[in-house]
């Protein structure tokens, strides 16, 4: 029997490691396995590999290599930015953090934890397209505001935020600006100087690098309280023996991204357009979520009336299509995704959400296949739905 077709359309969840990345990583497991902090040549080779990776990671966002610090994940980078910054200004009595209602849990749950410690947090709303309300953000800044944290692009609906404008506002008001760019990094142009970004989180596994490694950009001169203390690696900002193979993988993934970003984005945009238009025209009572244009190049997100998202994902899986949903049933709680709630969708609508995210390994044939299978899968679920009046 032929292998069933696999169309991986969940690149916002994670990506396949690029073979060039894997190849670059492998020697650092068994040949150049030295600890980067040691003096002998074996260790120095690891050290040199870290510095090369740092340079490549920095280049994507126009930062200096010395402003990049490696972490164990994007989540950890977000924790460092929020906790590290808020804790460092605590003694001066500044206790206010501003973020948005639709951040990734890595930011939202950290903000909640800071609230429990006694910090004040303002959650700025987003509009129906998933774009942050700039006026509300500016109005929220007050005397004791330390930090504004707004994601560069949303993971569920792909909407790109007006990062340059937010950077300008923060700079003019004298508050720091952190952006969670885990979804955006390597997928859209970002420049920390032009956009006045003081801290930026990124993660290797969203750009065809390995899982469990990320980095944070911290503008030079900015002091944060470390979240992880220990042997003083990464200039004391993040202790723990460096994950050399992982970091090498991140560096190579970043290098590949920077080199091919424009061309790859053009290719993705064409597939995205065809997939979105195809779904909207072939499935009745379906809507795009997020911004119609201002979205990440691979991101396609929808809601389908009278269909429940988990069932949709399970049936698509039977066709070999990997996708995801923000329906309650999938989140393991009884509430649908906070992102879909934040953009003003009802519970009812959110239950029928589907995210298809295309990436470097997708082809036009994948789009054809999804367009061929998806309408039938939706129709099949609607046929058994007591709320479908079709």
């Amino acid at each position: 029997m032929a292998e069933p077709r696999l169309v991986y359309a969940d690149n916002a969840a994670t990506t396949r490691v690029d073979p060039r990345v894997l190849e670059k990583m492998l020697p650092f497991f068994s040949v150049d396995y030295g600890n980067a902090s040691t003096l002998y040549k074996l260790g120095q080779r690891s050290h040199a590999a870290l510095e090369e990776a740092r340079k490549n990671v920095a280049a994507v966002i126009g930062a200096k290599p010395g402003e990049i610090f490696f972490t164990g994940s994007g989540t950890e980078a977000d924790n460092m930015a929020l906790r590290g910054m808020m804790h460092s200004k605590q003694a001066k009595g500044r206790k206010h953090l501003i973020t948005t209602t639709f951040e990734h849990p890595a930011v939202l749950q950290t903000a909640r934890a800071l609230e429990k410690e006694g910090f004040r947090v303002t959650y700025v709303p987003v509009d129906r397209t998933g774009t942050v309300d700039l006026q509300a953000l500016e109005d929220a800044i007050c005397e004791d505001t330390v930090l504004v944290s707004v994601m560069a692009a949303n993971n569920e609906i792909g909407t790109i935020q007006p990062i340059a404008e937010i950077g300008r506002i923060c700079r003019s008001k004298g508050v720091y600006f952190h952006t969670d760019a885990v979804q955006a990094y390597g997928h859209m142009p970002l420049n920390v100087d032009e956009m006045n970004i003081d801290m930026l989180s990124l993660s290797a596994h969203k750009i065809c690098g390995p899982k469990g490694v990320g980095a944070i950009y911290i503008r030079s001169g900015l002091m944060l309280d470390p979240v992880i203390t220990g042997g003083g690696q990464e200039k004391n900002r993040r202790s723990g023996t460096e994950n050399v193979p992982g970091i090498v993988g991140l560096g190579e993934a970043a290098r590949i991204k920077l080199e091919g970003m424009e061309q790859e984005n053009e290719r993705l945009r064409k597939m995205q357009r065809r997939l979105i238009d195809g779904v909207l025209s072939s499935v009745p009572e379906c809507a795009l979520t997020g911004h119609p244009e201002n979205r990440l190049p691979g991101s396609c997100s929808f809601t389908f009336t009278a269909v429940e998202g988990e069932s949709l994902v399970l049936l698509l899986d039977m066709k070999g299509i990997c996708a995801s949903t923000g329906s309650a049933c999938s989140t393991g709680s009884l509430d649908p995704s906070h992102v879909l709630m934040a953009i003003g969708l009802s519970h009812e609508t959110s239950h029928g959400s589907l995210r298809l995210s295309l990436g470097e390994f997708n082809t036009e044939e994948d789009v054809d296949y999804i367009l061929q299978e998806l309408p039938g899968v939706v129709a099949r679920l609607r046929a058994m739905s007591p709320v479908w009046k079709g």
Partner: protein, 150 residues
């Protein structure tokens, strides 16, 4: 979260999907806000469930429990069908992940709601016979739906 093979089988090939035009017992439970609605149609003759069909809006477990519950009451007497429990539905499916237990509760309620409707259609008050079916106002929002949240 992982579903058993039985759950996946009943999800992929649900038994008894559809409507019964001349049903003499219809029950519907759940609501769109929670993300699960189950509607059960029965054709009952001489107190025996001759035919049963369902329509469900919901997750994989909601579809599978509806399918299994209809299988378990088909051909049974009304009295026997009334003894259906969510635990029996779960067991027949080789278990459910903890966050999905409420789907089996809903399936039990859906069957009982149809049976209650059968009694009502004959002018008999079903409450003393069946008890609370989850339909009545006073227990809305406070029955099991949230207690099995991990």
């Amino acid at each position: 979260m992982l579903y058993s093979e039985k759950v996946m089988d009943h999800f992929a090939n649900p038994r008894n999907v559809g409507e019964i035009p001349d049903a003499n017992a219809i029950g519907e439970v759940g609501n769109l806000k929670c993300g699960d609605i189950m509607k059960i149609y029965m054709k009952i003759e001489d107190d025996v469930i001759k035919d049963v069909k369902f329509q469900t809006f919901g997750c994989g477990a909601a579809v599978a429990t509806s399918s299994m519950a209809t299988e378990m009451v088909k051909g049974k007497s009304v009295k026997d069908a009334m003894k259906l429990t969510n635990a029996a539905v779960m067991e027949a499916l080789d278990g459910l992940p903890p966050v999905k237990v409420h789907c089996s509760v809903l399936a039990e309620e859906a069957i009982k709601s149809a049976l209650a409707n059968y009694y009502k259609n004959q002018g008999i008050d079903p409450t003393p016979i069946i008890g609370c079916t989850g339909e009545c106002e006073h227990c809305h929002g406070e029955h099991d739906h949230t207690t099995d949240k991990e």
